[in-house]
């Protein structure tokens, strides 16, 4: 067998060199079949099954790629996207969520949709997932801390759900509430935020086709640390606007009081659109570092208005985005 060394001498492959899951799994099946058929295949069989077992924790979730929502940037390595997370319910260090989110039970799960809607409903995960066909979309993700990733999400436009529940004329905003269960989320012991975590969007923002209700990423169901089993992804806003592990969605008359806005209103506004011209009080937002790609000696890249999603600009026509930051 030909053993190829990675030319960059590092054992982390470039994202472009990562074998798609489907391909390596079919290889495993092949090895397994080969092993079964051979006399000296005992060791091989063991190898094949052991690796297959290690993979079985992640559940596949297939979806058709929606090419209208695919950025050409190279996707962030799965390992980086799942070990470098802000999810304070599991701790404030970036590595805390991947260490401690194992205690979250993403199934069974119900989600309540209530407030100013004609058809309030409580759905289990499967019913929610079946409301609309799942799509894969590759989005940029820009964190307010000045780093970014590129992630292939799986889900459907939140607008599909809005259509099903039929908001009343009073509905002006949508509020998303994250699970707050001390038994499952050790970070809740720390008073860094007011729990439960609440985020919100204006109804027209939530209705924009880009706003995604996501159930998976990288062809699998969401890992716990990334907001399993269901989260929002609002790619033209800073990452914290996208609530994770959602248990409740409320349609409201008034602007929701959101967790980060309560905690530090001068730093985190309700809108929090990605905007290179509005600095965070403690650092510039003009540039960002792409995780896993921009190394030590690469200059940080320029941040784009609305994270490059200029199609949302009309939502803010006539608004002073320095004031409504």
């Amino acid at each position: 067998m030909l053993i190829k060394r990675n030319p960059n001498g590092i054992d982390i492959p470039f994202a472009s060199e990562i074998t798609p899951r489907a391909v390596f799994e079919s290889r495993r099946t092949f090895i397994r079949q080969l092993a079964l058929g051979s006399i000296a295949g005992g060791a091989l069989l063991e190898m094949a099954t052991r690796e297959a077992f290690a993979q079985s924790a992640a559940q596949k979730l297939s979806a058709k790629t929606n090419s209208a929502y695919v950025v050409m940037d190279k996707p962030t390595a799965y390992k980086d996207a799942t070990t470098y997370n802000n999810f304070y319910e599991f701790g404030t260090d970036k590595t805390d969520p991947s260490h401690y989110a194992g205690s979250l039970k993403p199934r069974p799960w119900t989600i309540a949709i209530e407030g100013e809607v004609k058809k309030p409903m409580t759905l289990d995960l499967d019913s929610l997932q079946k409301l609309a066909p799942l799509e894969e979309r590759i989005y940029r993700l820009r964190c307010v801390e000045g780093w970014s990733m590129v992630i292939p999400w799986i889900g459907y436009s939140f607008a599909e759900l809005i259509r099903k529940v039929e908001p009343t004329g009073n509905a002006k905003y949508v509020e998303f509430v994250t699970l707050a269960d001390k038994k499952q989320m050790p970070g809740l012991r720390s008073p860094v935020l007011e729990w439960p975590y609440v985020e919100g969007l204006r109804l027209d923002e939530a209705n924009h086709p880009l706003a995604l209700l996501a159930f998976g990423m990288y062809g699998e169901v969401l890992p716990n640390q990334n907001g399993a089993p269901v989260r929002m992804v609002v790619p033209w806003k800073y990452g914290f606007k996208s609530a994770k592990s959602i248990v409740k969605i409320r349609f409201t008359k008034d602007q929701p009081k959101t967790a980060w806005n309560i905690s530090a209103p001068q730093e985190y506004g309700f809108y929090s659109n990605v905007n290179p011209d509005v600095d965070h009080p403690r650092w510039s937002q003009a540039t960002e570092r792409r995780i896993g790609e921009d190394g030590f000696f690469t200059k940080k890249r320029k941040t784009m208005m609305f994270n490059g999603y200029s199609e949302v600009a009309s939502l803010y026509a006539g608004m002073d985005l320095k004031k409504f930051y």
Partner: protein
């Protein structure tokens, strides 16, 4: 009471030197084997910042430890410990200047002026430079013991500035656990000095005031 011989003291110094270099060695090792995580520059910045504060605390702890234990030889380690605080802050600052600003001094200075937490950290760094520069025996002699000591007492200002820098950096994230810990340690170490100097002033007064009527 333990009082090391010259040879023992040399051994202790060597050991402390090696131990104090371990955090740096760890960073280098992690860089080589690719264990600095998804955002290596952030890792290095926060790690070197942490170690600067640790060494400031350890340096400030020498005098109280010496007084409480009677181990006067501890004083002989203080210069090295202080210089390690300087070593880690230089790494911290270099990371900021190099990988955040790519030596764009203009942009860096704008950051220093515009953002209070950087202003304070930068001030603390600048104030440490004269202390590091006057750490040699020759400089102590040139300045004279008293003036040297006055200069080096700026550390009582530098350490709280360092904590404030860290505090403000964490403030927006509402994550005060570590700043509170560092702040408490530094406060205790400084308050002990205040307490001792008050106590000393009192005894001196008592010695002076009794007078025959």
């Amino acid at each position: 009471m333990f009082n090391p011989s010259a040879r023992q003291l040399a051994a202790i110094k060597t050991a402390v030197f090696i131990v104090a270099l371990l955090p740096f060695a760890r960073l280098v090792l992690f860089a080589v084997i690719g264990q600095l995580g998804a955002n290596p520059i952030e890792f290095i910045t926060s790690n070197t910042g942490d170690w600067t504060l640790y060494f400031l605390c350890i340096t400030l702890a020498v005098t109280p430890l010496r007084r409480l234990s009677g181990w006067n030889w501890l004083l002989k380690l203080r210069r090295m410990l202080g210089l390690f605080a300087f070593f880690y802050v230089v790494l911290h600052f270099t990371t900021f200047l190099w990988f955040d600003h790519f030596f764009d001094i203009d942009a860096m200075l704008k950051d220093v002026v515009k953002r209070p937490f950087i202003t304070v950290g930068f001030a603390a760094f600048l104030l440490l430079i004269p202390l590091a520069a006057t750490s040699t025996n020759a400089m102590v002699r040139r300045l004279g013991g008293r003036r040297w000591q006055t200069l080096h007492r700026t550390i009582y200002l530098i350490a709280p500035l360092g904590i404030l820098h860290f505090w403000w950096m964490k403030a927006g994230k509402n994550d005060f656990e570590q700043p509170i810990l560092f702040g408490t340690v530094v406060a205790v170490l400084l308050l002990l000095r205040v307490y001792w100097s008050i106590a000393q002033a009192r005894t001196q007064k008592r010695q002076v005031s009794p007078r025959p009527n």
